[in-house]
């Protein structure tokens, strides 16, 4: 690393370097970082029936004193008062946690099988895991509606096999079960790939040594394979857990009226009730919940890079 930096410092064209790093930097500061301050600011303002539907709190940098005198935590108090929001947050975290565990349980065997496959077919297997990820998220969730509907293909199949009486229908669509199926289906590639890349790097001689010394395969798995794959487990879990917590499309299309998820609540607050300040407060609190997982994820990525 030191050698690489030495070469870099010899580079001429300081202006060019400034441009290469500065342009994406400024772009992200303006369009990714700055909006978070705005969201925070608006979450502290009142709703107004106008466009934009809120009264600004902060006008210009000279008004910092005014700003603090006008701060209004009303929206946050409202969030903690109304059990709907508290329930929605807790239910989102619960659904995300259960989904992540399910994804691990399903994804791990797949990743392990891929890593143990002959080297010649591994790239094809990786390709096959990635390919569904390239097709639209919306399309993949939509595909499940036709399967899970009461008069859908699953009911048809179970009638055909005789597992279900002719009058009965599968009651999965618009329940939490459907949400779990949708989430596991959509996020599976995100779980399998980090696990696979951790497992693939593993040194097989370790397992052989354990085997030679009489360690049973299952014990060898728990003592060697699993601990060595932990970086992949953490990366995969974070990549899934964080976005699932704020997921909107899946609970909206597959979930029922009683499936509470905060992404859906935020969407309704914004598009349905046009309460921008409250929607912003919902987003800020969600972000606070996710700060720790996001930091774990960032840390993990830094180690990989």
């Amino acid at each position: 690393m030191a050698a690489v930096q030495d070469i870099d410092t010899q580079d001429k064209g300081g202006l060019g370097r400034l441009l290469v790093a500065g342009l994406p930097y400024l772009w992200l500061l303006l369009f990714f970082a700055a909006p978070f301050f705005i969201i925070f600011k608006i979450s502290l303002s009142d709703t107004a029936i106008a466009l934009p539907p809120y009264t600004p709190v902060f006008e210009g940098f000279g008004a910092i004193g005014d700003f603090f005198s006008q701060l209004d935590f009303e929206n946050y108090i409202f969030l903690t008062d109304d059990p709907l929001y508290v329930t929605a947050y807790l239910s989102s975290l619960r659904i995300a946690a259960i989904s992540t565990v399910l994804l691990l349980l399903i994804g791990y065997p797949i990743a392990l099988a891929m890593a143990r496959a002959p080297g010649s077919i591994r790239p094809t297997l990786v390709m096959m895991v990635i390919l569904p990820f390239w097709t639209s998220f919306l399309i993949r969730v939509y595909a499940w509606i036709g399967i899970l509907k009461p008069d859908g293909l699953l009911t048809l199949l179970l009638h055909g096999v005789g597992l279900l009486g002719p009058e009965e229908q599968v009651q999965i669509f618009r329940t939490d079960t459907a949400v779990f199926i949708g989430i596991v289906y959509s996020y599976l590639p995100f779980m399998v790939l980090p696990l696979y890349s951790a497992l693939e790097k593993m040194d097989n001689t370790l397992l052989e040594a354990a085997n030679d010394l009489g360690c049973p395969p299952l014990k060898a798995f728990w003592r060697i394979t699993f601990p060595l794959s932990l970086p992949g487990v953490i990366a995969g879990s974070m990549i899934c857990f964080i976005p699932i917590t704020g997921e909107f499309v899946i609970p909206d299309l597959l979930g029922g009226a009683d499936t509470l998820m905060i992404g859906k609540t935020l969407w309704t607050e914004f598009f349905g009730n046009r309460d921008w300040p409250l929607a912003s407060a919902v987003a800020v609190v969600l972000l606070i919940f996710l700060v720790i997982p996001i930091m774990i994820f960032q840390n993990q990525q830094k180690k990989v890079a």
Partner: protein, 272 residues
């Protein structure tokens, strides 16, 4: 290995789970019957109705333009960001920079979408086509940065150093040596950016305005009304386009890889 039968079973079940819903979706786009559970024979009628649906076609055109523009700008910015992350060692604000590259990958879309919308409102920008392009560029550039970064990390720098030693200016070195070598990753990044833009419903819903309805927004509003074979038809076309794109990209990267290997052999055999 002893447990290879277990592995084969796991992989078969896993891939069945991943692919069967998509296959069903495609098959039923050719169904003559409007009902999902009834097979009424092979028919292309839904492709016809889709084709004559002006709203859908307009949305497809908007989505294509947003995708190309945001993927292209995102690829340029993302490649620059990757170069800065891999090559510039430590620079002031590097922590924040890499944080801003990784955070959008996992940030729930409702938060990103809402925060961008509020920025555009605060800046007094009219929402529409360009705000969607900017929003998509912002999150796709991060994906491009990750893809290109991983290529740069496994990159043999001796060619670059040779060019610089021989007095080739840095900018020229980049375009003649570095860029051709990382090009497969740049193309992969562009394709990823394009499909992500094509795919996005949530961020586009927040940042769009009148006259800039994208295809996912259109599909979503129809899906909410129920499953129709027409949606299956448009989904099938999207899947076909993406699959063809991925296959072409993987063939072309294989070819460039092959050509690179041949060139290296040639270079080794040619006496200096």
């Amino acid at each position: 290995m002893k447990s290879s039968r277990f592995d084969v079973t796991v992989l078969t079940l896993g891939f069945a789970f991943l692919y069967i819903p998509i296959v069903i979706l495609i098959v039923y786009s050719f169904n003559a019957s409007r009902l999902v559970t009834v097979w009424g024979g092979f028919s292309l009628q839904w492709y016809q109705t889709m084709w004559s649906n002006q709203g859908l076609m307009d949305a497809a055109w908007v989505t294509a333009r947003v995708g190309v523009l945001s993927a292209s700008v995102g690829t340029v910015l993302g490649t620059m960001a990757a170069l800065a992350l891999v090559r510039y060692g430590r620079f002031p604000g590097r922590m924040i920079f890499s944080g801003m590259i990784y955070a959008p990958l996992v940030m729930p879309e409702v938060i990103t979408g809402l925060s961008m919308l509020l920025l555009f409102v605060a800046l007094g920008v009219d929402r529409g086509f360009w705000t969607v392009v900017i929003a998509h560029t912002t999150f796709t550039m991060c994906y491009v940065a990750i893809v290109v970064q991983s290529r740069l990390l496994t990159f043999d720098r001796s060619l670059e150093e040779a060019a610089l030693d021989l007095g080739c200016p840095p900018v020229k070195t980049f375009f003649r040596i570095t860029l051709p070598l990382i090009f497969p990753a740049v193309i992969a990044g562009w394709m990823l950016a394009f499909t992500l833009s094509l795919d996005d419903l949530v961020i586009a819903s927040f940042t769009t305005g009148p006259g800039a309805t994208t295809l996912p927004i259109k599909i979503y509003s129809q899906v909410r009304l129920g499953v129709t074979p027409e949606i299956n038809a448009i989904c099938t076309i999207l899947i076909a386009l993406v699959t063809i794109g991925v296959i072409i990209a993987s063939i072309s990267t294989k070819r460039t890889e092959l050509r690179r290997l041949q060139d290296e052999h040639l270079a080794l055999r040619t006496p200096a």
